[in-house]
């Protein structure tokens, strides 16, 4: 078989057949089509599980290389990453949350550190509000007023003492927000259908690693 057939045509054929099959399975209630669709879904879930393993292999390969070569400025952090990953994986596999090391690391290191990083957003958002929400032009003024109304609605105290904030914020959410978001959602759906059609017609080759120039 030619190189082009193996690299381009065969993957393209598989994608087109599977896409048509899954669309048919969704819309047509025929038992044997549904059965094959079911097998494909199970296969996809198995592939998803393998992807997690692939991620581990890629991480070990990348960071193990840095440790092995003693890459300046990197090998130490790669070593820490590999050590913590191994400890979490092994202790988790041994006894999940009944394993004291895993339970300790999960409850006292992993979750607090993730939440701390997420909480830093509060500082960034407040700094950004300080610098960005200014009455410097009509759009920025409208933006600032809307932001303050929504903040007033989200703060129980302000909502209670400034009752007008609730209907104002509801109006913002239900009219301008919904109107503009629906337009965007419909545009996105149109774009998604276009990509599906291109895929079905064999015009979308990016997912099999072929760029426009290579076509």
């Amino acid at each position: 078989m030619s190189k082009v057939w193996m690299r381009k045509s065969l993957p393209q054929l598989i994608i087109v057949v599977l896409a048509i099959w899954m669309i048919a399975e969704y819309f047509i209630a025929v038992k044997w089509i549904e059965n094959v669709g079911s097998i494909l879904r199970t296969f996809q879930t198995s592939v998803g599980a393998f992807a997690l393993g692939l991620g581990v292999v890629a991480t070990v390969y990348q960071h193990g290389g840095h440790v092995w070569r003693r890459t300046p400025g990197r090998w130490f952090y790669s070593g820490v990453l590999l050590t913590t990953m191994t400890v979490m994986a092994v202790s988790g596999l041994i006894g999940w949350l009944d394993q004291p090391i895993f339970a300790y690391l999960w409850n006292n290191v992993y979750i607090p550190s993730q939440q701390t990083v997420y909480s830093l957003l509060m500082f960034y958002i407040t700094y950004a509000s300080w610098r960005a929400l200014r009455i410097s032009s009509i759009p920025s003024t409208v933006f600032m007023i809307c932001a303050i109304i929504v903040m007033m609605m989200n703060a129980p105290l302000l909502q209670y003492y400034i009752p007008i904030s609730t209907p104002l914020a509801n109006w913002l959410f239900n009219i301008p927000n919904v109107g503009s978001s629906r337009g965007m959602a419909l545009a996105t759906i149109g774009g998604t259908i276009a990509v599906y059609l291109r895929t079905l017609l064999g015009r979308e080759l990016g997912m099999i690693g072929i760029t426009a120039g290579e076509e």
């Binding site: 549904e34 669709g37 079911s38 097998i39 494909l40 879904r41 199970t42 996809q44 879930t45 198995s46 592939v47 998803g48 599980a49 992807a51 997690l52 999940w96 949350l97 339970a103 999960w106 409850n107 992993y110 979750i111 993730q114 939440q115 990083v117 997420y118 909480s119 509060m122 500082f123 958002i125 407040t126 700094y127 509000s129 300080w130 610098r131 929400l133 200014r134 009455i135 410097s136 600032m144 932001a147 303050i148 903040m151 007033m152 989200n154 703060a155 129980p156 105290l157 302000l158 909502q159 209670y160 609730t166 509801n170 959410f173 239900n174 927000n177 919904v178 978001s181 629906r182 959602a185």
Partner: protein
């Protein structure tokens, strides 16, 4: 005082560095003080939370509900309290059967360590009244849950065969599910496609504050019957179900921090206009 020195003094004592320090200290104080000594500030129930509560209350004994816990640990501070009260409301309802489903790898750990210990099961028996499917990866997993769950889901989160549980045997397709309740960074779009369009399944859920506006799109169209707006929505549901928890205790801090944010915006504008006035005079 020379004119040059006077200009330097008047220029602004509020440099960006100082402003950053003041903002940070303000956040720290206004977040920690209300958490340590709650003031008990008033909390109003929003329309979408009331709709959520009323919809869940329509569940009858024997109904099967799929509860999706789809959050990572970063969002647990925001979405943990809504998850606990969402599940508690379900466990409070006699006869309602719950299938817990977690399509994110981090979700089972959070469920086991942080959510499950906070729940009162109200006598519900595992396998009969509720089951935990645990983590199943892949985008097609929701489609499988809707159309042919017994093909893909063979074991529960604890490694036991699902076929031994009466609840799982009663659930054959999405048609057997009365309601989907989600807790995710989104609007439950996959459930609308795979469950609601085919079987008209009722969908309600909780989402992060940043996605609340997106959910309103589907709430106003009637596809979502109720929405909890992040921690705030969780606190409101705690109040409605008379089940005070982490959500309500965080509401005072929510109020003070939003007030601080508004003050920061006002102060930023005052500084901006005074700077413009100074520059205009010069």
């Amino acid at each position: 005082m020379s004119e040059r020195l006077e200009t330097r003094v008047r220029k602004s004592w509020l440099t960006p560095e100082r402003a950053h320090y003041i903002i940070a200290i303000g956040i720290f104080i206004l977040a920690s003080v209300p958490l340590l000594t709650p003031f008990g500030l008033p909390l109003e129930i929003s329309e979408t939370t009331q709709a959520y509560y009323d919809t869940v209350e329509t569940l009858k004994p024997g109904d099967i509900v799929i509860y999706e816990w789809n959050m990572g640990s970063a969002q647990f501070g925001e979405m943990g309290a809504p998850a606990i009260v969402q599940l508690q409301q379900l466990f409070n309802k006699a006869g309602v059967r719950i299938i817990v489903f977690q399509p994110t790898s981090e979700a089972p750990g959070l469920f086991d360590a942080n959510i499950f210990p906070a729940l009162d099961l109200k006598g519900k028996v595992y396998g009969i009244d509720w089951i935990n499917l645990g983590f199943y990866p892949g985008g097609a997993v929701i489609a499988a849950l809707a159309t042919d769950p017994h093909q893909l889901f063979l074991k529960d989160h604890y490694g036991n065969a699902l076929s031994q549980y009466s609840l799982w045997n009663d659930y054959r397709t999405g048609a057997d599910c009365e309601m989907i309740i989600f807790n995710e960074v989104g609007h439950g779009g996959s459930y609308m496609t795979q469950f609601q369009i085919k079987w008209g399944t009722t969908i309600v859920g909780a989402t992060v504050a940043a996605q609340y506006a997106d959910c309103m799109l589907y709430y106003t169209s009637g596809q979502l019957k109720g929405v909890l707006n992040s921690l705030r929505g969780g606190a409101e549901l705690e109040k409605l179900t008379n089940n005070p928890g982490r959500g309500l205790s965080a509401m005072d801090a929510m109020s003070t921090l939003h007030l601080w944010l508004i003050l920061v915006v006002v102060a930023g504008n005052v500084q901006y206009f005074s700077k413009r006035r100074r520059e205009g005079k010069r």
